[in-house]
């Protein structure tokens, strides 16, 4: 790989051991990819936390050891300096305030708080959400980023027109210290053009339908680039957040185009940019049914736990949940957790939404989600969620069975303790 003088200087250790190790990883990674060079980035979103039990042993050696192994793949423990690039923390495994409700042990919560303090001082901004674009990190079209979190990556590329591959803990750790990431994949204009044309034959408007469409398409196109045409109604941040998260769970979609909506596709022609259309897919009632049935693995209609907020809810979603719960009480047999970024939780508190949800018997959580933390209310066997992503992952990770439906279906399940959702 071709390195600049500045990059060579970092690799040779002239700027400290941490940067040498970071550059070593970037070179090994870039060569594995077949990249010819690195590109500068000043927008990194990664995972630097110490919020899972598996980190315990490493954390005993200190947080430099955690960062060295897990964020740099370095067998040598290096002293972590201040980050070079603007860097934020994505979702963690622990709600710093409600960890007891999660069932997290006090020592793990303490370890996470200490890690946050350590990394925070070194310039990792503690957004602690899977949706940095909801709380102030909104990259500009064309901006080179190094982001983790598959749902954020697909949003960054597709909706914002900024450029990132799906990075990992180690590559974001290295990018944060060097301001570099391999110039490969979605950083390159030619690789951002559409591959599959999708003809949407039924109305896709609400969040549930955007989730189903994403879940169906991910499985078919895998990591290629679908271009949506047909009866997609004007989407919003929330709808595209759910669509992308679903498509990046059943498959590996990192970019899509919706002509006249997303920034690199003023037309179908521009979306494909001269690429031949590899395949044309239809999405109608039968495909919608397949996605729905693939997502709903539960048979028992008794619901123990309702999970909302994957990806983390916007304030509009929290507001809707509060309005559906106002003056009502959820079932004694069911727990409800609503997940939103901590910065938006402040707004929810001020607006009274947190209180309304709390009075109904629900909990507003931040910083985490059950799939990441692997913590749910004790004894949970059946989950209901409005998130295709969570319905995909929770059964695999925790062994529960899941119902997927609209937010109204989910609130109804919380109130009655039973699943009555279905495809309209």
């Amino acid at each position: 790989m071709k390195l600049t003088d500045q990059e060579k200087s970092m690799l040779q250790g002239e700027q400290g051991r941490a940067k040498a190790r970071a550059m070593d990883l970037l070179v090994r990674y870039g060569e594995a990819l077949g990249a010819e060079r690195l590109v500068e980035t000043n927008n990194v979103a990664g995972a630097f936390n110490a919020s899972t039990p598996s980190v315990r042993e490493l954390a005993k050696k200190g947080f430099d050891a955690v960062y060295s192994e897990l964020n740099l793949d370095s067998p040598e423990i290096v002293e972590v300096p201040h980050m070079v690039a603007n860097t934020c923390q994505l979702i963690t495994g622990i709600d710093n305030e409600r960890w007891r409700i999660q069932g997290i042990s006090e020592d793990l919560a303490d370890q996470q708080k200490q890690a946050e303090a350590y990394f925070g001082r070194r310039g990792i901004n503690m957004f602690a959400t899977c949706t940095p674009y909801q709380v102030g990190n909104v990259p500009v079209k064309g901006e080179h980023c190094a982001w983790m979190e598959s749902s954020a990556v697909v949003y960054c590329n597709s909706v914002l027109g900024a450029r990132t591959n799906t990075e990992g803990k180690e590559s974001t750790g290295a990018a944060a210290l060097t301001g570099r990431i391999p110039y490969w994949g979605y950083h390159v204009t030619e690789n951002r053009r559409g591959t599959h044309l999708v003809e949407v034959e039924l109305d896709v408007d609400d969040i549930m339908d955007w989730g189903l469409l994403g879940y169906y398409l991910g499985e078919i196109v895998d990591d290629e680039i679908p271009v949506l045409t047909g009866r997609c109604h004007q989407p919003s941040l929330i709808k595209l957040k759910h669509f992308g998260a679903a498509a990046a769970s059943s498959g590996g979609v990192e970019m899509y185009h919706i002509p006249e909506v997303t920034p690199e596709a003023r037309s179908i022609e521009e979306a494909f940019g001269g690429n031949a259309i590899k395949d044309t897919l239809q999405y109608g009632a039968a495909e919608r049914r397949i996605a729905y049935e693939n997502l709903n693995c539960a048979t028992d209609r008794k619901v123990d736990f309702v999970m909302l907020g994957c990806p983390h809810n916007s304030i509009d979603q929290v507001s809707l949940i509060a309005s559906l719960l106002e003056g009502r009480k959820i079932s004694l047999n069911t727990q409800l957790w609503v997940h939103t970024p901590r910065a938006l939780r402040e707004v929810a508190d001020r607006n009274g939404y947190t209180s309304i949800i709390g009075e109904a018997g629900g909990v507003v959580m931040s910083d985490t989600c059950p799939a990441i933390s692997r913590h749910m209310p004790r004894g949970t066997k059946v989950v209901a969620t409005d998130s295709a992503k969570q319905a995909h992952y929770l059964p695999a990770i925790t062994g529960v069975s899941a119902w997927f439906g609209s937010v109204r279906d989910c609130i109804e399940a919380a109130l009655t303790g039973r699943w009555n959702g279905g495809l309209a």
Binding site: M148, E170, G185, A396
Partner: protein, 154 residues
């Protein structure tokens, strides 16, 4: 002919494929092959190396100490972190052979520190079967496959 096929002393048939090094090194072991892409975070148990994804062909099977042959990576950006942990936990695959290059798999292979090869001259998913003995020389981009003797069809 793009691959060599020669008889082997012990009766096993040897097939040779050539490809591109992703991570250097040599390893050999029994193949575990899937036609399904693999998720890291949310797709594998990093403590025992088993596939946990619902509806996955290999659900419940472990790649620990095997030569993992698969189309590529999908899903969460935690791919590398979870394969990284399989190495720390001693349950990583001995080598990886795959078709589709992505950032997830490139970084995952690098941090797993197991030999890895891609861009082979024949589709490894068609040539290699679970149970075959496979030697990977990633430095030279060579994969040798010793077919497991199969029972003759009745």
């Amino acid at each position: 002919m793009s691959a060599d096929r020669v008889g082997h002393a012990d009766g096993a048939t040897k097939i040779v494929l050539r490809g591109r090094k992703v991570v250097g090194g040599c390893a050999e072991g029994e193949a575990i092959v899937t036609q399904d892409t693999i998720s890291g975070w949310g797709g594998i148990n990093e403590r025992d190396g088993t596939i946990i994804e619902r509806r996955h062909e290999l659900r419940g099977r472990s790649f620990k100490d095997k030569i993992l042959v698969f189309p590529g990576a999908k899903g969460s950006s935690g791919w590398s972190a979870y394969f990284h942990m399989t190495r720390l936990n001693g349950v990583a695959p001995r080598a990886m052979i795959f078709n589709k290059m992505t950032t997830k798999i490139a970084l995952g292979a690098v941090v797993t520190r197991a030999p890895a090869i891609t861009d082979l001259d024949r589709d490894p998913l068609l040539v290699i079967e679970t149970g075959d003995w496979v030697k990977v020389d990633a430095d030279n981009g060579v994969v040798e496959i010793f077919k497991r003797p199969r029972e003759a069809p009745v």
